[in-house]
Each structure stands twice: as C-alpha cells, then as structure tokens.
Symmetry: C2
Subunit: 358 residues, 2 copies
C-alpha cells in the first residue's frame, strides 16, 4: 500500500513523473508545449487530430529537435462520416454568427471532411512515435498490431468502466479515466448511448476503473496541481493527465482572448455542448453557445458541425472575439496560473505532491 | 503540509474520525444508523427534512439512548411554498403511474405542504442537538444566533464556491462541498440560476472551495472508501461526508428493492432528475423517470412535486416495485458492499486510509 510518486506507469512510458499532457487538439497544442512537458519529466502530447499528415510529420520532427524524451501523439479514433441531413437549417443559423463577425455566408453545398485517419496513423508508424493516444475509441486492430510490433505504447481515453475494459482488451498499455470535470471533448466512445457524453465525476470514475482493469489508470478531469496528483494516486490511479492547467502556460498556443476568458472563469462557467464540433465537449459558455441553444436546433453530427463552424472560429480568432471561439475548459479554472512555463507547472505540481506525502 | 487523518474538523465536532454520514432524508435514515456511525467514531446524521416535529423529538431521544457521542440533524433550509400552476396536467401524468400501481387517481384539489421548518428547528434547539446541518441554503440569521448561543455547531452543504462563501459568512462551523457525483438532492441554493443544480465534480470543487474559505471543508460526492477519504484530504478537505455507501448498511432503512437496485447499478445508472421532488437529485434511472421524461412536462416546483408523488412512492414501497421509488444513488455504486454494519464500514474506511498513508 502507500502512495508513491514513482509508479509502474513511469517505467512503462519511461518518464520521470506520472504526468501526461492532454491532447489539446487545435491551437493550444504547440511543439514547444509538447517538448517542454517531456523535458520537464512528464509526457508531452501533440494533439494531432485536426492536422494534415504532412503537418504531423513536420511537428514530430520539430519535437524531436527540442527533446530526446518520450512524447505522445493524440488522434481521434472515429469514422469521419459526412452526414448532411439538416445542413441547410444549420447553415442558416450559423449565418447569424457570420453576420456578427462580418464574414460571408456559407454556400449550401456539401461539407466534406476528408477522413485522414489512415494517413495520420501511417505517419505515426513511419516516425515510430513513442506513444499513440486516442480519443472517442480504441486504435483499430490492424494498427494496434503494427504499433505493438514497432514498440509503440498505446493509450486510450475512457469515460466509463465499460470503455476502460474495451481499451484493455484492445491491447492498450494504459487507460485514461476521464471524469466529467475535464475540459474539451468527452472521450465517450458511443454517443448514441450517451448523447452528451458519459459524465461520471473523476472521484467516482477512477476507483471503479482501477478495480476492474489490470493496466495502469491515468486520472483526468479537474486535476490542476499536486493536490490533484496525490488525490488521484490515493484513488488508485498511477498518474494524471492534465489539460486545462497547461492552456495558460507560456508555450500554449491558446489565443490570448481564450487565455483571458480562462483566467476570468470559475467552476460555474463551463457547460457540455455539441455546438462547436457535433460531439459533446466542455467549454466556457459564450455567445455562440447561447445563440445556438436558443435556436433549439440539434447540432450536426461530428465532424460535420466542426467543419461547418470552422470559418466562424477562425474569424473569431482573427478578431480576438472570444464569443465565437471554442473555449474548452475544465471545472477547476480558479486554480489556473498565468504566465508560467510548462516546466514550472510540472515542477510546482511535483513539489506540491512531494510536500503532501511527507 | 502532509496528510493527517486527525484534522481540526475532528476537534471542532468532537469526533474521532473525519467522517460524516449524509442526511439520507426519507426511509434510509434510521436512528440505529445515525447512532451506529456516531458510535463508530464518525458523525451520524438524522435526515429529518420530511419528519414531523414530534417525530424528530422522538428520534433524537432514541438516538441519545443508543449513543452518548455527537450527532447531527439535517433539515432543508428552503421555503416550502405551494405553487399550483400546472397541477392538473401533472396529476394526469402521475395518474398513469397510479394506474400501473393500481392505486386511486388524485383529486384535482390543492396540494398543501405545511411549512414545518420553524417547528422543526424549535425541536432541535429545545433538544440542544450537537450539530445542525442544512441543505438548499444556510440557516436563517435568527436561528443561527440561537444555535451559536446554545453551543450547537452548524454545517451547510454547498455546490459552488459562491455558496460556500455564503455558508461561511452565515457563521457555519464547516461547509460540505458537494460534488456532482453525490447521490440524492443537489444542495444548490438557487435553482433559478442552476435549474438542474450546480454540478461541479468533487475533484474540481473541493480544492477551489478550500482555497476560498477559512472554515473546514468536508468533501462529498463519490466518496466510498479509504481511498476516497485520503483523496479528499489530499485536495485540502478536512473530512468527508458519505451517503450512498451507508444505504446498503445493515442499519439503513432503505427498502430491500432499493438496496437491490443499488447493488445492481453501475456508474452509468444514475441521472439528475426533478421528477420525484421538484428539485434536482441524482438517482438510478427507472420506469418513473423514463415515463415522466417522455411526457415532456416540467415537474412541479419543490416541494409540490414531492407531495404529489408521495402516494406513488408509498405504493411502490408496499409493492416492492423499484420502478416507482426514488432510488437516490451516487456515481460510485460499484464500490458498494452488501450486509456490512455501519460500524464495519467506518472501520474499514479508516483502516484503508491508514494503510494508504503508511
């Protein structure tokens, strides 16, 4: 028994500290942030889900210039289907946001989101990245076999015990138990069963997963400092995954207006919404969420809604208008710090954890 | 720094272990359960919200025969208003449940729920109970002054940092930070702001409350064993409040069919619903919840909905039909044990916590 900071997880992933950076797909995930977390002793993660294969290759090469430590690349293991029922009605609603931002209305043509998953994975295999992590589902069987053969470690995010068992059965080396406090996308595999994601709190989810799987469990959701790390270890996790805490790090690519919104937010600010991507995700409630919710419309399925809202999010970023950005955030944003380096965040977290275990 | 099981909270409340029993208003809260938790070194709590003043007096006398240790009595600090808009439509819907249970339809007359709060509190003052705890709001000022003068300790349940600050300002000796994992009623003060309760996960809520108040914080929501206790202490809480774990204790008055449903449930079984009482509460999704939700009707306000559904819940209990009972449950029911005494639950929790802190 006893709580130890050096866990089996550290050995398996060859890291000093049991601390993973979350994927943070989109702007926040810079190569500098990934490398900084890895250099500080944790496991940096490149959120590559929305990246073109060539961009992923370049980023991996950049990361390797900045660190010789292990790192992960995170992808969405989900079929990028194009479903167009309701697209006209949705576009009319989105045009109201476009009017606010003074950008052109959408044409009513098909929204195509090319399925790059096979190409993305091929780059990760070619580059022999140390760790592949997935959200929304496990790595499909042929890829899992390839990864194992190449000595690549694999991690999946789970939001229920059932999903954690599927992750273990698929061959994962560890599983992230993502509690409802977590910012960004819910990792829920099957949104037809849980339309707004399975939202089990971290405190309840972690020990129940720990009791049911044999692979190491990484706790995620609401973990912001050394207190959270020690609490997660007490619940039986072997490490933590932190996302929101790193959004305001110096190396984070989060937009300045997004960082500002995070620092001004409280535990009451966020909601789980599908209006940005079509999949449930936790973010700060802003003008776009309020406007869409008032319409009463069901968002288009993922990733169609994501593709349909891209011009709006891009224009909002250009105009520094946080009301039309996706402001992913967990429920513990009062614990955010401003202007710290990722290295300082890792060091402070570990120091606080050590002091608690004295 | 360091995590210690003997906290300031233990001194203030004169208890051996930093473990409170939750109120569990309704059937589960028996005098035997309250006394057993207190005798085991925790703080037993009588869930007296729905009890007549005379019944509260009798229960307190019974508890005092069974233990000389401190205990708490929990009340709902909320105005029991009678609002009757929509009552006919609601009764028509409830009559469908009455048909299922073969009990008479409701008459369409006024539903009166007498406001017994002043009388309930008077009994607690007269009996000089060691601790008064409240849900839905703080103890109103004149009562707080009376309690202080009588040496009675006061605790309030909070679901946001703002509510915790209100509790501290009101003069509370400690505050329960109730995370979204918790079973039963959400303690949220103002349901006009948070119609389904403020649902911040325990992992996120506890450290944010701890950082903002000076009084001791008691963590609640998803805490089922020694792992949860140590995790809560790591997050900065000085103790825990456990409810769901004690529902299946030998001394619990929970209906056998309710206990069975709890033991068969998982982390995916519960939802937050207003259909039983008119206030948001977490319980296992059953036939009654599904039936009401399908109607699309808004439940009547608290406590009107509670009064209106009472005959249904009573008939369900008589018929051992768990589909029409309120099956309050937290999100960590896989960690429940069957047939343990409350004493054994407290002892096992403390032993597990001690082992973790070795």
């Amino acid at each position: 028994m006893g709580i130890r900071l050096q866990t089996e997880l550290c050995k398996i992933f060859q890291i000093r500290f049991p601390l993973f950076l979350a994927g943070l797909a989109g702007g926040p995930s810079t190569v500098k942030l990934v490398a900084a977390v890895s250099n500080a002793g944790g496991l940096g993660t490149l959120g590559a889900a929305y990246m073109e294969p060539e961009a992923i290759r370049n980023a991996i090469e950049e990361i390797r210039k900045l660190t010789d430590k292990p790192f992960a690349v995170n992808l969405f293991a989900v079929h990028m289907s194009d479903c167009h029922a309701g697209i006209e009605v949705a576009q009319l609603e989105l045009n109201r946001a476009r009017d606010e931002l003074n950008i052109p209305h959408a044409t009513m043509e098909l929204i195509e989101t090319p399925d790059r998953f096979a190409e993305q994975i091929a780059v990760l295999m070619e580059q022999k990245v140390p760790v592949i992590s997935t959200a929304f589902g496990v790595l499909p069987e042929p890829y899992m076999r390839q990864a194992k053969a190449a000595g690549i470690k694999v991690v999946t995010m789970a939001t229920t015990v059932h999903e954690a068992l599927l992750a273990e059965q698929s061959g994962c080396d560890a599983v992230v138990a993502q509690g409802s406090e977590a910012g960004g996308h819910r990792g829920t595999f099957d949104v037809s069963i849980h339309p707004m994601g399975a939202n089990i709190g971290t405190f309840a989810l972690v020990p129940q997963v720990v009791d049911q799987v044999r692979i190491p469990v990484i706790a995620a959701g609401g973990i912001m400092d050394g207190r959270g790390l020690v609490a997660a270890l007490a619940l039986g996790a072997q490490g933590v995954q932190m996302g929101t805490r790193f959004l305001t790090a110096i190396e984070s690519g989060a937009h300045a207006a997004y960082k500002q919104a995070l620092l001004a937010s409280t535990e009451e600010s966020s909601v789980i919404t599908k209006v940005f991507s079509g999949r449930p995700a936790r973010g700060i409630r802003n003008g776009f969420i309020r406007q869409w919710d008032a319409s009463g419309l069901e968002p288009l399925p993922f990733p169609v809604q994501n593709t349909a809202t891209r011009d709006i999010r891009n224009a909002a970023a250009e105009q520094s208008n946080a009301d039309y950005m996706s402001l992913w955030a967990g429920q513990a944003t009062r614990l955010l710090t401003n202007g710290q380096s990722a290295e300082a965040i890792v060091a402070q977290t570990m120091e606080q954890a050590r002091a608690l275990l004295l």
